[in-house]
Symmetry: C2
Subunit: 139 residues, 2 copies
Amino acid sequence: MSIACENPEFRLLGDERGSLIAVEAHKDIPFAIARVYYIFGTKEGVERGFHAHKELKQVAVAVRGSCIMKLDDGSEQQDILMNDPAKSVYIAPMVWHEMREFSEDCVLLVFADQAYDESDYIRNYTQFLEAIEQQGKNT
Amino acid sequence: MSIACENPEFRLLGDERGSLIAVEAHKDIPFAIARVYYIFGTKEGVERGFHAHKELKQVAVAVRGSCIMKLDDGSEQQDILMNDPAKSVYIAPMVWHEMREFSEDCVLLVFADQAYDESDYIRNYTQFLEAIEQQGKNT
């Protein structure tokens, strides 16, 4: 599979007043929304992420400004420019992700299917590759 | 009751990288999150809202920029300045709401407990007051 897991574009409800985007759980977001977080005020030059989740599913969208999202499934890497409030990216479990080049005004909104659970994180890239390899052996 | 239904402040997870706020359903958001929408690119001078919901529960937060949210329960009115990504407002059912003075960069994020349902809207202020009065008689 490709790691270019871009969701279908969100429908932009624009009129003479401005813009509105509405997303529903189990529809535009392919899971129940247990948690939502937003990253903002990111300092210049800062990179974030640098982890994968064992089970957590996420959808990310830059509702303001821009950043670059790097996805890595252990064999393929892809940089995705997040600069459109209608363009979301699905971050599957076991996909290493890094974000960089946040614009000063960037607000990155992320939907997640589970509450926070530190034990779901893999924060070491070597361990991530080992887990991917192990997963391959088990399937 | 007061209509000053401000949620407890969201916890700001700030560090040397920048800021992050995470909210969970049934906790920071007092319901299951069925729908999320964001309003952005609002034109200068535009006012939005001008309706109440019969049953829908919502929590709104300006994740970027600012606007003024007017809440009106039929007997009391309140203007709330939304200008802090940690400050949310709970919009109960049967509360008329209007938003104005959107800054150019405002992104207003709203969590809702139901999918979109046009029949849940009351878009006429006189009908809203009548419904409030009717509700008072029934309780």
